[in-house]
């Protein structure tokens, strides 16, 4: 059943360029890229219980890594994405060692601080990053020598494939024994520790996995848009990713994708018509937190639970013999 749904979604994504116009194809690519970044943040927030307000740091660093590799080194898309992953890991390892043992609000502030440092570095270090103008002049990336991903459709299909692969990687990680141990750590870290689990090591692994996947999402963004800017590292994107995770529901990975679709769509469609799309977004967020504490993907769990309760009630009344 699961695989049927997955293959159906994949088939739909493959069919998108035949259904909608080029502008909308670009919108779907953005949804997938931000969805992947949000899903990696979901691993950190929902599974490892580490609320980060600086996840864009990985997204942006991955983007710059891919873009600079394309300009100075090689146009091979594979090398660019591997560089994004490597640089993501180089950032995640020391940052993770520094911050995962703190947890809670301190972790949140430190994640914000790290991202802000990188943000201002990207603005100041003009020679390399192009400063606030952004990194332009990124060439089309090549799937293999001689085959550049020039057309929107080609770039789109590449995004779909990488998205599908990395989403499954995250899925496997979340469902692995490590993923379940992490849920235990989040639920009660002392209890897990007294069973011999090195709590911080598990958190660190989750931090690095989330960081590397976030960085590759950033690299994918550059592959698609051929542009990187300090905005990709900024607080606005970090908080947007966190909003996507909360809206989608912390407990479920697929929620991040659904929420990314909604948010990217309304941002693109409404921001041209209303200047105050953030107002609408804020309102939606308040309503979701108030009425759907499990986020959008938590709705299914709530319905299942309500049905089970009704069934239990019915069984009880028939057994008891009283109406």
């Amino acid at each position: 059943m699961r695989w049927v749904v997955r293959l159906a979604v994949l088939a739909l994504l493959m069919a998108i360029p035949f259904i909608v116009n080029e502008y909308r194809v670009g919108l779907v690519a953005q949804i997938l890229i931000f969805g992947l970044a949000a899903a990696s943040l979901n691993v950190l927030v929902g599974v490892a219980g580490l609320p980060s307000l600086g996840h864009a740091a990985f997204f942006g660093v991955g983007g710059y890594a891919a873009g600079l590799t394309a300009i100075h080194l090689t146009q091979s898309v594979w090398v660019c994405l591997i560089m994004a992953a490597l640089v993501g890991a180089v950032l995640a390892v020391p940052a993770g060692l520094l911050s995962v043992r703190l947890g809670g609000i301190t972790f949140l502030m430190l994640s914000l601080a790290i991202a802000e440092i990188l943000y201002s570095a990207s603005e100041t270090w003009r020679d390399v990053t192009g400063g606030s103008d952004g990194l332009s002049g990124i060439p089309s990336l090549e799937l293999f020598p001689g085959f550049a991903l020039d057309l929107v459709v080609e770039r789109y299909y590449f995004v779909v494939v990488i998205f599908a692969v990395l989403y499954m990687v995250l899925r496997r990680f979340v469902d692995s024994p490590t993923g379940w141990s992490l849920r235990g750590v989040t639920s009660n870290s002392e209890r897990m520790a007294s069973m011999g689990y090195d709590v911080n090591r598990y958190r660190f692994v989750a931090y690095v996995v989330a960081g590397v996947v976030g960085a590759v999402a950033g690299g994918l963004n550059v592959e698609y848009s051929r542009f990187a800017s300090p905005e990709d590292l900024g607080f606005a994107l970090s908080s947007l990713l966190l909003v996507i995770v909360i809206l989608g529901g912390r407990k479920r990975l697929e929620g991040a994708i659904i929420a990314a679709a909604i948010i990217v769509y309304i941002r693109q469609e409404l921001s041209s018509q209303f200047n105050t799309w953030e107002f609408g977004l804020g309102l939606i967020l308040v309503l979701v937190i108030y009425f759907l504490p499990g986020g959008l993907s938590g709705v299914r769990d709530q319905v299942v639970k309500a049905l089970a309760r009704r069934r239990a009630l019915r069984v009880k009344t028939t057994e008891g013999g009283t109406p």
Binding site: G184, S187, N188, E190, R191, M192, A193, S194, M195, G196, Y197, D198, V199
Partner: protein, 234 residues
């Protein structure tokens, strides 16, 4: 006799209160020791200090000669100390089998899932049930099984009979007797003197953060004035 656990002059202060004031205690290889004491004398705090949940202010403790003072919780757990905590502390949404295997650690000739199910057949019948839906006694058995699968050098039991029906306490006593005859080293904190006395080789009594009495279990059994003096039991 070689010691599994050696506590040397352990002190613990929390803020202004000096809760544990220099405790020395040992548990020998294969020995069962019962620690009695009224409420609030520091028994559970001592257990928490051994497990690393709170940090001792002074003194040290060794597990099979390895100094574990001030080590993090998971490090102590991996060194071979397993606790059956007061109030059981299970994850209610996990099933019996998930809970048992969660912290399982293999050891040659040690506890396996099959052996735990042999010892606690009721858990085998309910291996797929969520632990949160089980009775207090069954949850206690799950907590014991979980600790056994850690294959510990020393098992800490923190008031295992608390809140259980008398019939269940009897069953618990049988299980613990089986563990003892299997040669497991045990340190048990109990309010139920009968349960502790039936299990232990040696009895310690704690009062106001100190060990105030220590004797072989026979002496404690034969002289009711000991319990009367230290525990206020007639």
């Amino acid at each position: 006799m070689s010691y599994v656990l050696e506590v040397r002059d352990l002190h613990l202060r929390l803020g202004a209160s000096h809760i544990i004031k220099g405790v020395d205690l040992t548990v020998g290889e294969g020995e069962a020791v019962a620690l009695f004491g009224r409420n609030g004398v520091g028994k559970s705090t001592l257990m928490h200090a051994l497990m690393g949940l709170v940090r001792a202010s002074a003194g040290s403790f060794l597990l099979s000669g390895e100094d574990l003072t001030g080590k993090p919780i998971d490090r102590i757990a991996r060194a071979g100390l397993a606790i059956v905590p007061q109030g059981r502390r299970i994850f209610p949404t996990l099933t019996v089998q998930e809970t048992l295997t969660l912290g399982a650690r293999k050891a040659a000739g040690g506890w396996t899932l099959e052996r735990v199910y042999d010892l606690l057949p009721r858990l085998a019948e309910r291996r797929k049930q969520h632990v949160g839906l089980m009775s207090g006694g069954e949850q206690q058995m799950v907590a014991i099984g979980r600790a056994l699968l850690r294959n510990p050098k020393l098992l800490l039991l923190d008031e295992p009979s608390e809140g259980l029906a008398p019939r269940i306490v009897g069953e618990l006593g049988e299980v613990m007797a089986a563990l003892r005859s299997d040669g497991l080293s045990i340190l048990i904190v109990e309010q139920n003197l009968e349960l502790g006395v039936n299990l232990a080789d040696r009895v310690l009594i704690m009062d106001m953060g100190r060990i105030v009495h220590e004797s072989p279990v026979q002496e404690f059994r034969d002289d009711p004035s000991i319990a009367h003096r230290h525990l206020g039991i007639l």
